[in-house]
């Protein structure tokens, strides 16, 4: 399959890329790993006028683990899987990366591309929401940060404004003793999440002191399961409380339906996967 013709420029800096994007925000597209965009071009579901290659921009690279954690948008799934400093602080990146696609795809696909594309079944949106991440966006006139939970607007739709580029993901360093889990029911063909659950949890004297649960795959955008978190705070992580959190999350989810999984089935999976994720953190 051959894409329709387009022009190509290798951007030399972030401001160069933003300038080119601004020239025609609808017709020009960014490309980094290309593992969503190139298949889309081959199917001719997209035919941009210009591809702006941002893969050589150093500012968009790197994993920094300090008082805060910064992950550059160009970081590949394979780099996230392999990073030992990141695994020590936020092992959920290793857990989730290991479930994404296959080794060759992980070598090219980037976390920034996954987030900016906002596929409702992508894995990273749930992870960055559960970690209370902020996304750093650079535009023609300003730089801003937006909470990950507010970034995903709808299917393939984000809060990125015309001319804006996702630069990096920032996360607070978690409390000592924080526990993490990413689980998903994998679509057998695509590998995407039919339902994915990212959960972070702190227990103090067997009582939940902090918890955040985020769901992907089930609905038109990844979301934070706030009612479940509110229920769990200040309570022990008992079987009954886990069941209630799972049920509340299921109620919150307005699930998608497709030929593989009906909305009812997805809702069932949300409850099951939230239960399993939380149970796995009990005593972990």
């Amino acid at each position: 399959m051959i894409p329709a013709s387009f022009d190509y420029v290798r951007a030399t800096s972030l401001s160069h890329a933003i300038g080119l994007l601004q020239d025609d925000p609808d017709g020009n597209k960014l490309v980094a790993g290309g593992h969503t965009l190139i298949p889309t071009l081959k199917l001719r579901l997209a035919s941009p006028a210009l591809l702006i290659d941002i893969s050589g921009i150093d500012e968009l690279r790197g994993i920094e683990v300090a008082d805060c954690i910064r992950i550059g948008a160009l970081t590949t799934h394979a780099e996230l899987l392999a990073s030992k400093p990141l695994r020590e602080v936020l092992p959920i990146f290793h857990q989730a990366a290991d479930m994404i696609a296959d080794p060759q795809v992980r070598n090219r696909g980037t976390i920034g591309g996954s987030l900016a594309n906002a596929d409702p079944a992508a894995d990273w949106p749930a992870v960055v929401i559960a970690l209370k991440g902020e996304l750093e966006l650079a535009g023609p006139t300003r730089r801003r940060r937006i909470a990950a939970r507010d970034f995903f607007v709808d299917i393939m739709t984000t809060a990125l404004e015309p001319g804006e580029v996702l630069v990096a993901i920032h996360m607070p360093r978690p409390n000592r003793g924080a526990k993490f889990r990413y689980r998903k029911i994998r679509h057998p063909a695509s590998g995407y999440a039919v339902v994915g659950v990212a959960a972070t949890l702190c227990l103090r004297d067997d009582i939940v002191s902090e918890v955040m649960i985020a769901i992907t795959g089930a609905t038109s955008r990844a979301f934070a399961a706030d009612s479940a978190s509110t229920h769990l705070i200040g309570k022990p992580l008992s079987t009954e409380n886990i069941a209630m959190a799972a049920s509340l999350t299921g109620e919150q989810a307005e699930c998608l339906s497709d030929h593989y999984a009906s909305a009812d089935y997805r809702k069932h999976l949300v409850k099951t996967e939230v239960s399993r994720a939380l149970a796995s953190l009990n005593g972990a």
Binding site: M1, I2, P3, A4, S5, F6, D7, Y8, V31, G34, H35, I38, P39, L41, K42, R44, S47, A49, L51, D53, S55, A78, A101, D102, P103, Q104, V105, N107, R108
Partner: protein, 165 residues
């Protein structure tokens, strides 16, 4: 759909140790550069949808699916294809020899991609367990062998005695 002027881009890559230059349209896929422009037809197009791994090549030390890479984006890279493993018809690469020895292929269509993936896997983990081998080959589909002999071939290359899961 707008027609854009088909401006050609000069791509210079090191392929199997030889510097190669080609003028390509931006839309040209790496697998087509390798097969059609450079005559390296050992890299196969299977599914053409980044699933099957038959087109796997090594770019700067990483196994990638060349049907999902724009040739123009690889300029300046070093690429190794299956032809680069046993150069000049010399001795087979150890992974090739192990596939031969363990009958790890039937029709052979997936084999070049399979071997390029195994090469990367063993570079990162010289002593994989069976489940690590199967997980590591998740991006390569074989419709003949049932995978068992492929796994045996990889196990025969492990640096130590078999490790169990």
């Amino acid at each position: 759909m707008t027609d854009h002027t088909e401006e050609l881009h000069v791509v210079t890559v090191d392929v199997n140790g030889v510097r190669r230059t080609a003028s390509v349209e931006a839309r040209k896929l790496l697998v087509h550069l390798l097969r059609d422009d450079l005559g390296l037809t050992g890299t196969h197009v299977g599914c053409d949808t980044s699933q099957c791994g038959a087109c796997t090549v090594d770019i700067d030390g990483q196994a990638v699916k060349s049907c999902t890479v724009l040739a123009v984006m690889t300029s300046g890279s070093s690429i190794t294809t299956i032809e680069g493993l046993a150069r000049g018809g010399g001795a087979l690469h150890p992974v090739q020899a192990a596939f031969h020895e363990h009958h790890a292929l039937q029709c052979g269509f997936c084999t070049p991609g399979m071997i390029m993936s195994v090469r990367q896997m063993l570079g990162q983990n010289p002593n994989p367990t069976e489940s690590e081998i199967r997980h590591g080959l998740a991006g390569n589909i074989c419709r003949c062998t049932g995978y068992n002999n492929i796994v045996r071939a990889v196990q025969s290359l492990a640096s130590e005695a078999p490790r169990h899961d």
